[in-house]
Symmetry: C2
Subunit: 314 residues, 2 copies
Amino acid sequence: MLHLFFSLTVRQTFELLILGSSSASPTNGRNASAQLLNIAERYFLIDCGEATQIQLRRFKAKFQAIDHIFISHLHGDHFFGLPGLLSSMHLLGRKQKLFIYAPPGLQELMAKLNAVSETKLSFETHWQETSASTSKLLFEDDKVEVLSFPLQHRIHCTGFLFREKKYPRKIDKYKLEKNKVSTADIQLLRKGLDVLNADGELVKNAELTIDPLPPRSFAYCSDTRYNEDVCSYIQGVDLLYHESTFLEDQAARAVKTFHSTAKQASEIARKAGAKQLLLGHFSARYRVLDDFIKEASERFPNCVLASDGKLIKI
Amino acid sequence: MLHLFFSLTVRQTFELLILGSSSASPTNGRNASAQLLNIAERYFLIDCGEATQIQLRRFKAKFQAIDHIFISHLHGDHFFGLPGLLSSMHLLGRKQKLFIYAPPGLQELMAKLNAVSETKLSFETHWQETSASTSKLLFEDDKVEVLSFPLQHRIHCTGFLFREKKYPRKIDKYKLEKNKVSTADIQLLRKGLDVLNADGELVKNAELTIDPLPPRSFAYCSDTRYNEDVCSYIQGVDLLYHESTFLEDQAARAVKTFHSTAKQASEIARKAGAKQLLLGHFSARYRVLDDFIKEASERFPNCVLASDGKLIKI
């Protein structure tokens, strides 16, 4: 039977573009960490390793549409591309404000960089510091919210959780007419309220609407050692990006360097009830990555490997 | 007639690898400024725009053989690749000292970068400041010397002159035997001195040696507005790299931004008596570069365009 809905039938965009999938050093084919997340045409850049601006151009991503940049921590492979990106935004005449969420210290460093080159950016930057000890709401509008949460790395480091706000309830237009409910009441119905019809009768919301699709979410966890505490922040996430710098044969090295193995990443995905796991931040020592999938899928079958240029639709 | 020489018959290496040829912003195919010069297996990196380490890998250049880095000025497209390069050298376990020649301010900035990431490099860095007002000898060994000289840009900026030391005189082994001169006197002969032969007779140096090949040189001039003063520092240079950010139709813009046009670069090459001109630092506005060659070759026929990956043997 055909039902006509006023509300969303085509879901808003929720897709992730991998710009870099290497750990510390770039390799041929794998750049330093950076990902571009598009939720409902809000473009969030997550980390910004060296040459991120080159990758953005290479993969034809919307360069100036990025209004929010999230930096997980201040190891070079996660932010050395920021000065160049901001410089190019400036040279291209950007006017709109740029919001940057980062650990303490980066704002001052960027100011120093601009000072030595005697550069005054053509646009304003608004800085917000992440917290290494607690979850923090960084951004919120009518459709999306972004939170940071602590990770366990050698220096101040946070993950980020991006999630859609609850969708409005879906309205069955056919039933609306049948129950003599005015279209003027749509906003009330979307919010889940009951309404009065043309005859002055109360019509229950459940008569006219159905549950909307559940909001989607993406969590970004890089860099971190195995840490189950993180699961409480990312419970039930649709897509979990979790670093897997090493395979399990380098587990001791992972502990020492505050990184994770593919097996550990899959364990976190399982414990967090994630729907899909995205592995990345691979050590340059690995040329072929097949074993990462093998190792992780033993505990968590629905996993994929990050690769530069890969687009994942959630 | 066959002559046998003890001294150099195959000349020592003198070649330049272009790692980036773009100005301010990288484009598809043109990276920010960086060049790798190899003189007699001394590897000199000249400027280090973002992603220089990626270009080094891409063109299979000897990464850790670089012991000397020269930074012309502190605009981002000339040094934003330095933090990442040093970081990768560190991660690859470099031990040998690295010498960096740069304008004042960069050493402090790099120290700050290392501080925020809590990084202690695995190798020592030795810094030497360039001078914006006078020529300065930066490096010298038995085969090569490097000088900086002032350029006219918006901020402190210098060019660099790389030149071979005079070669030793070439010895004619056949005449050595004929004149009963001991091979023990070779070092004296190479220096141009006369010697006594087995019979105690004075043999003139000119009898036994011929002039060596002239030493070669390379000058790097980026970024600068048209400035004839520079010619005195680079007179007779074998290869002159001179920025040509614009074509002559943008001459007013060149003046305003302290850059040069292709025509101006050719004028400097002509006035400096350079043997060959290498054009580069092209504005991102130009997709096709043919007009740069056309414009420059009107006054200076022997010119070539820089392109990423190009190797020029001098």
